[in-house]
């Protein structure tokens, strides 16, 4: 069952280096031939590219990802929503960003077939001057176990 006590948990900061080859690999995987990714010397990242933070946070160690504290059920938990916000043009190849994640709200709403528990994780990305350049917001949802759908 999701753990509401995870609300407010903060992960350790971790490094995310934005790399041109990785941007092109991601563009290929998402069927993009956009010259902004393929021809620019220092391309910007595609809108959903920061999902690659998964690599960096796993290399940094579990203390960087507070998401596991939410403890959504593996069978009944799913990725419900994902949002990326860019404060100006998206970061470019060559950027060295410092990311930090925190658990936002953990809350329960009544769904059509029983209660649903939502949990949010926000990751902030800052450049080397400390400016906030992007934010990622992950929303997971878990249905109540069968038989507990009152």
């Amino acid at each position: 069952m999701a753990n509401p006590a995870a609300q407010g948990a903060v992960g350790a900061p971790f490094m995310v280096e934005i790399e041109r080859g990785k941007i092109r690999e991601f563009a290929a995987a998402t069927h993009s031939a956009n010259p902004a990714y393929w021809h620019d010397e220092n391309p910007v990242v595609p809108p959903t590219f920061l999902t690659t933070q998964m690599f960096w946070e796993s290399w940094a160690g579990t203390e960087s990802s507070p998401w596991h504290l939410v403890d959504l059920d593996q069978q009944r938990g799913v990725h419900a929503e994902q949002e990326y916000i860019f404060y100006g043009p998206p970061p470019r190849a060559g950027a060295r960003l410092t990311a930090q994640s925190r658990i936002g709200d953990v809350y329960t709403k009544q769904g059509r077939s029983g209660p649903l528990t939502f949990a949010v994780m926000i990751t902030e990305y800052r450049d080397e001057s400390g400016r906030l350049v992007a934010e990622a917001k992950l929303t997971g949802v878990e249905a109540a176990p069968p038989g507990d759908r009152s």
């Binding site: 999902t51 998964m54 860019f86």
Partner: protein, 137 residues
């Protein structure tokens, strides 16, 4: 003061498919999401599915491809995704978009668009709402 031109109309739909297991694996390798549900037939069957399930973030990435081809890779300011329906190997998905509004905020000209990724079975796989900046002419 330079006038900002009206945003271009939505481009023709982006049609991708039939999607293969290789498409899923290529995306998983690029993204770092190695959930076996999306590539391991044995695991997917044990979870009660007939085949590996397409990666929701791949469909979201296809919507991002459509949107950046339309309004510019550097102009994206917000991209919000909601995962809706399931897509399977062999499905073909179609990405479409519509302009929702044009407005000015903090001195920037912005447009909001709504994006939809639908399978040939009529299943809405992913919806997204995005904000792009408009460059002055």
């Amino acid at each position: 003061m330079t006038a900002t031109p009206p945003p271009p109309p939505p481009p023709p739909p982006l049609v991708v498919g039939p999607l293969t297991r290789t498409d899923f694996v290529r995306y998983q390798g690029a993204s770092g999401d190695f959930n076996p549900l999306h590539h391991d037939e044995t695991f997917a069957r044990a979870a009660g599915y007939d085949a590996p399930l397409a990666v929701g973030m791949l469909n979201a990435g296809l919507l991002a491809t459509y949107a950046t081809n339309w309004l510019g890779a550097e102009a994206v300011r917000r991209f919000k995704i909601r995962f809706r329906g399931r897509v399977w190997p062999g499905d073909t998905v179609t990405c479409t978009g519509a302009l929702v509004r044009e407005y000015e905020q903090d001195g920037s000209q912005l447009v909001d668009v709504e994006l939809t990724c639908t399978s040939q079975a009529g299943v809405v796989a992913v919806q997204a709402w995005a904000t792009f900046a408009r460059e002055p002419a």
